[in-house]
């Protein structure tokens, strides 16, 4: 049984705004019977360009129905421009969260809304533009552009997460390598832009702040990992950007120690404290 929130169950049991609008201004349709879920969204604008009426039809599981219902409640009364900025996370948040494996239901909601707005603005048929860009996942017809966007907007870090959010990779699995490359590319681009943003507003940590942050990171990010293998880590000293640590327990004297220090400890400290840190092992 999935762990659904009370809000998800409520919207599944009593979905709001089910139906069709015969003279809709915009209609968007995503998904298919083969994929296991599909959503058709209709909206009608008032004279000020606000969404006066919105209806949906959904084929899918409980969370697909609840996500569709939530979407209609979110956008009702919104100016069209603002509705266009609704994200899948907004839908998930409105429902008090969705199980990770069901996040693709919220993405389907956002896609249907975009397709409906596109249909209103261009008059083109409001189907998800499957042909836009290269198809990465043939099983579920997911394009590179969609995977990139969902990965970026939801800050996804693994192939498994991409599958949960877009279904890509959830069929035969042949595209998993390609998805991994996209995830890495997006992560690199984000680090780059964050570094630039950081450079624009530089704020140097004081030594005390740095030590505190390092201790925190060791505690939350690194120690639990090492403890799994019966090991531990101790902070010995911080000199400028050089961090001296000692491995304890099973990790002490382990032949993998130097790679643990570089690949795990240094990577985490650079990510959570400062990118210019280097980590060395204290001599015993």
């Amino acid at each position: 049984m999935w762990e659904y929130t009370g809000k998800v169950l409520d919207h599944f049991r009593n979905p709001r705004n089910v139906g069709i609008i015969e003279d809709a201004d915009g209609v968007g349709e995503v998904g298919s019977l083969a994929c296991g879920d599909a959503l058709k969204l209709y909206f009608k604008l008032d004279k000020d360009g606000r969404i006066a009426n919105v209806k949906f039809q959904t084929f899918g599981c409980a969370s697909a129905i609840a996500s569709s219902s939530a979407l209609t409640e979110i956008v009702k009364g919104m100016p069209l421009d603002k509705a266009g900025q609704v994200t899948n996370q907004d839908i998930a948040d409105y429902l008090g969260g969705l199980p990770e494996q069901k996040m693709h239901c919220s993405v389907m909601g956002r896609e249907a809304l975009e397709a409906a707005i596109e249909n209103y603005r261009s008059g083109r048929e409001g189907r998800k533009r499957i042909l836009a860009g290269k198809v990465v996942c043939n099983c579920f017809g997911v394009t590179e552009e969609e995977i990139e966007r969902v990965t970026r907007e939801n800050r996804l870090t693994s192939v498994e997460q991409v599958t949960n959010y877009t279904k890509a990779g959830g069929g035969c699995g042949k595209c998993k390598g390609e998805i991994a490359a996209i995830v890495e590319r997006v992560a690199r681009a984000r680090q780059e832009s964050e570094r630039k943003a950081g450079a624009a507003a530089p704020r140097k940590l004081t030594t005390i702040e740095k030590i505190r942050l390092i201790e925190q990171t060791l505690d939350k990010q690194i120690r639990p990992m090492l403890k799994n293998d019966g090991g531990d880590i101790e902070l010995i000293d911080v000199e400028g950007n050089s961090v001296k640590v000692a491995l304890r327990g099973m990790c002490a004297g382990c032949i993998g120690a130097s790679s643990t220090i570089k690949e795990v400890v240094e990577t985490k400290l650079r990510e959570f404290v400062a990118p210019e840190l280097t980590v060395v092992e204290a001599e015993s």
Partner: protein, 387 residues
């Protein structure tokens, strides 16, 4: 609220008689049957009595029964035990609709130097015997084909399959987890070398299973490290559960005729009722060769998880082959192998009854299902417009 349990192919309630016979083995009779003292001696006898009860249900000799921890262990042990015993690279033949306990084991062997053939099924879920014959001509093989399918209830022609395997010099294992207790089985009269069964599908608890290994079958133990079960399965015997399984098998033998008649009659009533009240509905699988307790039915244009959750709100428990309920994004491998169209796979629901199912429960279910189906169809974009 009424609760109606129609998911007996997933697991079944433990019979009160079974709980009663198990209890003393948690209180006074907790000895290790291998021990050379009073405590061990007390339980050794009950262990052997249970072995005889299991053997009696399937027509085996008690010495041919090995107790295991579950049906999955029985399947793993049977397949890997016979492949290992043959030595070197083997041909392994199975079907595309097996339980993952068999299918994943065979795929593991395929990655470890063995040649694996997966035989397809037709639209009714029946095994491709011609394809099986072709695979058997490729050389000596270990063959693992299920007796009855857990999702559709379709029964394979086990006698014919076993004869083909033996004529080709192969070893035949059947996963009979769904068949034991629901169908008459007499392994003495059948060309079967190994057979798996599971306790919790026949009103014993979870965590106990058995494997039948015909005398003379070459077999390498899978669990190592002890002399138990005549050196065929190491590990201290799970005495309370073994005693429970024995009792459950004795009860199953007593009730087997009822299973074939009264349970089947209730299932037929459910099927006829649903087909009559819900349009655009189809039954999946060969209805002539089917377990008496199983109905797999597809409600087109809607999705299984929604059906199950609405039914659960009404106290009715069933299961589905839809993607959303499988924990993966792909729907049932069994229905896909049968070529059931996507429109029907996602809306498939399996109702599986037991001897504890009552006519009132079936009537209650028949009363509730159409409302659920209509509610979901009213919001489906795929329901064709009717004029």
């Amino acid at each position: 609220m009424n609760t109606v349990y129609l998911d007996n192919n997933a697991t079944s309630c433990v019979a009160p008689e079974v709980i009663a016979v198990m209890e003393p083995f948690f209180r006074e009779l907790w000895g290790n049957p291998s021990s050379m003292h009073l405590f061990g001696g007390q339980v050794r006898h009950d262990l052997e009595k249970a072995r005889a009860q299991v053997a009696a249900l399937i027509g085996a000799d008690p010495s041919e029964i090995i107790f295991t921890s579950c049906g999955t262990e029985s399947d793993n042990t049977a397949i890997r035990g016979t492949v290992d015993a043959a030595g070197g690279a083997m041909n392994v033949i199975t079907s595309r609709v097996e339980h993952p306990a068999v299918l994943v084991t065979c795929r593991y062997l395929a990655e470890h130097g063995h040649r694996v053939f997966e035989i397809g099924v037709d639209a009714a879920g029946q095994l491709g015997l011609v394809q099986l014959g072709e695979a058997l001509r490729e050389g000596p093989a270990v063959v693992s084909i299920m007796w009855a399918n857990n999702e559709t209830g379709v029964i394979f022609p086990i006698e014919e399959i076993g004869e083909m395997v033996h004529a080709a010099g192969g070893v035949f294992h059947t996963d009979a987890v769904q068949a034991v207790g629901k169908l008459p089985i007499d392994v003495k009269q059948m060309p079967i070398d190994l057979l798996s069964l599971s306790g919790h599908k026949l009103h014993a608890p979870k965590g106990i299973g058995a494997l039948y290994v015909r005398k003379g079958t070459r077999f390498q133990p899978f669990m190592l490290g002890g002399h138990q079960e005549d050196n065929r399965r190491a590990g201290t015997e799970n005495v309370p559960y073994i005693v429970g399984l024995g009792k459950a098998c004795e009860l199953a033998l007593q009730h087997r005729d009822a299973e074939m008649t009264s349970v089947a009659a209730l299932r037929d009533r459910l099927q006829a009722g649903l087909l009559a009240t819900c349009p655009d509905t189809r039954v999946n699988g060969d209805t002539k060769n089917r377990l008496p307790n199983t109905l797999n039915i597809s409600f087109e244009y809607i999705e299984g998880e929604g059906i199950l959750m609405h039914l659960s709100d009404l106290g009715i428990a069933a299961s589905s082959g839809s993607a959303c309920t499988s924990g993966s994004l792909e729907p049932s491998h069994v229905l896909r192998a049968m070529g059931v169209p996507f429109t029907a796979v996602h809306g498939s629901v399996r109702f599986s009854l037991s001897r504890y199912t009552t006519a009132e429960e079936i009537d209650y279910t028949l009363k509730q299902v159409p409302g659920v189906v209509n509610k979901l169809r009213a919001m489906s974009p795929f329901v064709p417009k009717r004029t």
